[in-house]
């Protein structure tokens, strides 16, 4: 993959994105990939004059990730999308659609997860973003 890839943890996510902002990187997008039954990987793509930089965050499906939308406003849309399609919760979203960006209110499944057998639905619904 072109560009530099850096692995990060949820704790230093906000610190790293703030650093990106200071270094005048533009936000491109997030890509969420399901890597196993319990884990997903979120890639944060940034760009500065066509130089790409990626942050790689691996988390378990039931955990909640801090939103980077207070730092990069443009991130709110894609974070809501991941919330809808993968069921990963982001807390601190600037605009929180609460899983209704694409889905109807009554949908509780995660359409983009291959391993549908995961029984995390009740839990992840409980820990809604504050």
């Amino acid at each position: 993959m072109q560009g530099e890839v850096m692995c990060i943890s949820p704790d230093n996510l906000l610190g790293e994105t703030a650093r990106m902002k200071v270094e005048r990187y533009r936000f491109v997008t997030l890509s969420c990939v399901e890597i196993s039954e319990t884990q997903v990987e979120i890639l944060y793509h940034f760009d500065r004059e066509f130089q790409l930089k990626h942050l790689r965050l691996t988390i378990s499906k039931d955990s909640s990730v801090p939103s980077i939308s207070p730092v990069y406003f443009a991130a709110f849309l894609v974070e809501n999308e991941i919330q809808d399609l993968f069921g990963i919760r982001f807390h601190g979203l600037v605009i929180d659609y609460d899983r209704t960006l694409y889905l109807e209110e009554d949908v509780k499944t995660m359409p983009f997860c291959k391993y549908v057998a995961v029984q995390k639905t009740p839990e992840s619904n409980e820990e809604k973003a504050p």
Binding site: V28, T29, L43, A74, T100, F112
Partner: protein, 358 residues
Amino acid sequence: MTKTIIPFGPQHPVLPEPIHLKLTLEDEVITEAIPAFGFVHRGLEKLVEIRDFHQMIYVVERICGICSMLHAMCYCQGIEEMMGIEVPPRARFLRVIWSELHRMHSHLLWLGLFADSFGFESLFMQFWKIREKILDIDEATTGNRIIVSVNVIGGVRKDLGTEQTSMILSALKDVEKELQWLETTIMSDYTVQKRTVGKGILTGKQAYELGLVGPTLRASGVAQDARMLGYAAFGDINFTPVVETDGDCYARCKVRFREVFQSIDLIRQAIGKLPNGEIAVKVKGRPNGEVVTRVEQPRGEVFYYIKANGTKNLERLRVRTPTFANVPALLTMLPGAWLSDVPVIVLSIDPCISCTER
């Protein structure tokens, strides 16, 4: 003052596509705008699980009909990079020709719709009349008007003979002449300026920080165009991005209008330098690994993230389309605007909802 909430869309005469905006108004001025999506969401990214990587070309082409060729081109470039395929030079130039034809028809379409959004219907008709000429070229060279489907992994499917290239050049000459005739209308007409100058202003700093792409970004004075990366044959022909500095709806209109002329120039250059040789190479094996690719679409830069695992189905395909990146601009521009300017401002980012939601 009391606040009023006005819903805009999903079915609205100005919008060709369903998007819903919840506008909070104080008197006639907008204080807050919240978009709602989901009317066109199909979940195409998930189709990688049942379609193999060759079949996915047809799916990505139908993410959006207006920039279908460029979606397929971006996808093919990604797979080619992953599999280490060297695309023949002729195919790279042919891709430039078709992609610029696509940009022209998309920009003319937008210019027409934009004129319609402020009630200038005869201008709308004029632009769409010119656009039909581009679609005729598409139909003559590929067999279809909108979804041209020329890309395959490893090259292109169709070749252009000398007869066809001279037909393209003569048709472009007509198009250029008619556009020059309309140039005075766009550049100096009182009606156009009255409705667009000073509306929805974005400064260069704002546009850069919001991560905007395409004409919306370039109208604010930031010279960023993915064609500068030199993909396909853009590295071999002269290219400088079109930039305007005012950052309002009028500047966006001018950027797109000038880009149509630029596309004519790029097609002429590409036809002039068109090398002989193969148009596609045979593809063996299966993709494996991770790749990101970018292509400049009419609306801005499209970003593909592709992950494959050596089987015939890809593991993940993620598409960040230009409108997806430009929606935050709407939320910044709309507060403070008049309700009557909403259609103009919404259209000024050239929203493509089927791209946004996939």
